[in-house]
């Protein structure tokens, strides 16, 4: 495999983080260290104000810069985020209740050393890079997103894998104050909360799999799963769980919310596959957002080169 590492200095002038924000970043880290998570002090409230749409410093991964991205407007106004609304335009209007700061992520279970990481550390210290990926929803629409993130494997290696690390489960934060629809679980057809998703360990360790903290050069908009979400570009969008707070490594196959809601329609793997149709609609084509014309859906959403090997010998119509 061709591993390209790009230096931060290769990016355009206009992508460079503003000096003010850069300085602010250091101050924010200090605040986070001094006050600690959960401490409500005027200084941490001040930090919360600076969060939305903060510019990130990152490098551009040249291997994933070829696609032309869907507009920022479309990416941020057409979302499935059932913790806020069942409609597509609802999350953009309702997600203001989400407080992405302070935020920590816990990595526990079958790992060498369980860790809790502060979002501030991730934003300031992790090797963030931009990758433009295809995103294909199981419902038949698609978009192209310039994610900012880091490889999930980077985090899992920090925690250290063991011989029992076979699956990884992710969980969206459970807090009905922030996610109002979590209160109405099971009522009016909503899905059970908290939302959970899972990957097999080799899928989780694949270099394509990202934890994303931003898009279009800035921190994630709330409706897109602030402050941190999974991005698995060869799987249907519902696998790319939003607003993650817990990562649990296990030795057994994990739960998966949609799989639990309708096992006949949504499998654990949920790999993009034009040949295996959803029981109620075909998956052969997709509707790119903003387009009248459908496009052919590609096997593994166009990432077959990198991931087809993971599923060798598996009947993909059974393990859908």
């Amino acid at each position: 495999m061709n591993i390209l590492s790009t230096e931060a200095w290769t990016i355009n002038e206009n992508m460079v983080t503003d000096e003010k924000i850069y300085n602010d970043r250091r101050r924010l880290i200090k605040i986070a260290t001094v006050t600690g998570a959960g401490a409500i002090l005027p200084s941490s409230l001040e930090a919360a104000k600076t969060y939305p749409g903060k510019s990130l410093s990152f490098s551009k991964n040249t291997q994933y810069q070829k696609l032309s991205a869907t507009s920022y407007d479309k990416i941020t106004t057409y979302n499935n985020f059932y913790e806020f609304s069942l409609s597509k335009d609802g999350p953009a209007k309702l997600a203001h209740t989400l407080k992405p700061e302070p935020w920590t992520i816990e990595i526990a279970g079958e790992v060498e050393k369980p860790i809790v990481i502060d979002m501030m550390d991730i934003i300031s210290k992790y090797p963030l890079e931009e990758r433009i990926y295809r995103f294909r929803c199981v419902e038949g629409w698609s978009m192209v997103v310039p994610w900012i993130g880091f490889e999930l494997s980077y985090l899992l290696k920090k925690a250290g894998l063991t011989s029992k690390s076979k699956f990884v489960q992710f969980q969206t934060k459970y807090d009905p104050q922030m996610f109002p629809e979590q209160k109405d679980e099971g009522f009016f057809g909503n899905i059970p909360f908290p939302y959970v998703e899972g990957l097999r360990i080799d899928e989780a360790m694949n270099p394509l799999t990202l934890l994303s903290v931003g898009l279009y050069g800035k921190t994630l908009p709330k409706q897109n799963g602030a402050p941190i979400r999974l991005v698995v570009p060869w799987k249907y969008g519902f696998k790319s769980i939003k607003s993650i707070t817990k990562i649990h490594v296990t030795d057994k196959m994990t739960r998966s919310t949609w799989n639990e809601v309708t096992p006949k329609e949504y499998g654990f793997y949920a790999n993009v596959n034009p040949d295996v149709s959803h029981p109620r609609w075909s998956q052969a084509k997709e509707r790119p957002l903003g387009s009248f014309f459908k496009e052919k859906t590609q096997m593994f959403n166009g990432y077959a080169d990198q991931v087809a090997d993971l599923y060798k010998g598996m009947d993909l119509s059974k393990h859908f």
């Binding site: 479309k74 106004t77 057409y78 059932y82 069942l86 409609s87 597509k88 419902e139 038949g140 629409w141 009016f188 057809g189 909503n190 899905i191 809601v261 149709s277 029981p279 109620r280 609609w281 075909s282 509707r287 957002l289 903003g290 387009s291 009248f292 459908k294």
Partner: protein, 198 residues
């Protein structure tokens, strides 16, 4: 009254034209003009234009079906007589169902009858929708004065169509949300009124 019905009936269609016109350079000034009068709540080009169009045509058909089925209970329970507008409402139900089906046929089945046929057999919700459409088609044709007296018995099939459309609508959703429950609840209520009367 007839004019009001026509006006209301054309609104969804005009809205679709307005929204899709954003997508064509030569029609965009028209949309801009309406946007300046109507305000930003009208929105611009839909994110998912195919789904937007199919959904709005389908929902409009359901609204007209609800209106059509309300005429009789309105007369028997509240003594409000709109019976002379029932045919017009029914024909608009058919018109939107027709546009919805045609749009699905072109956009989803690429205008191929064999694809449509395969889709119907494979996917129950398409089958239910298509069956309901055939019932509405029969009713639209036989709603003419000359034929109506002969076919009036067959028009009871509208109740079957309402059930099929409810199933079709519910099965087309990922999860059954509140709006679906409202529409299906209204249709169910209107059917229940018929059963109570017996």
């Amino acid at each position: 009254m007839r004019k009001i019905i026509w006006f209301v009936a054309l609104l969804p269609l005009l809205y679709i034209v307005y929204k899709l016109a954003w997508g064509f350079a030569f029609l965009r000034p028209l949309s801009h003009f309406i946007y300046n009068i109507g305000g930003s709540f009208l929105g611009t080009f839909p994110n998912d234009p195919l789904k937007f169009t199919a959904d709005l045509l389908g929902i409009s058909a359901i609204w007209f079906l609800i209106a059509t089925l309300t005429v009789t209970p309105l007369k028997s329970y509240l003594k409000i007589n709109f019976i002379k507008y029932r045919r017009l409402l029914g024909l608009w139900t058919f018109a939107y169902a027709f546009m919805h089906s045609l749009f699905f046929f072109i956009a989803e089945n690429e205008g191929s009858l064999s694809m449509m046929y395969a889709d119907m057999l494979k996917r129950p919700f398409v089958f239910f929708g298509a069956s309901a459409f055939l019932i509405l088609l029969m009713m639209a044709i036989t709603s003419h004065k000359k034929l109506f007296s002969t076919f009036i018995k067959w028009h009871k099939l509208v109740y079957l169509a309402a059930v099929l459309i409810s199933l079709h609508y519910m099965m087309s959703q990922k999860v059954i949300g509140i709006s679906v429950m409202v529409y299906v609840g209204l249709l169910g209520g209107l059917l229940a009124l018929r059963l109570i009367k017996r």
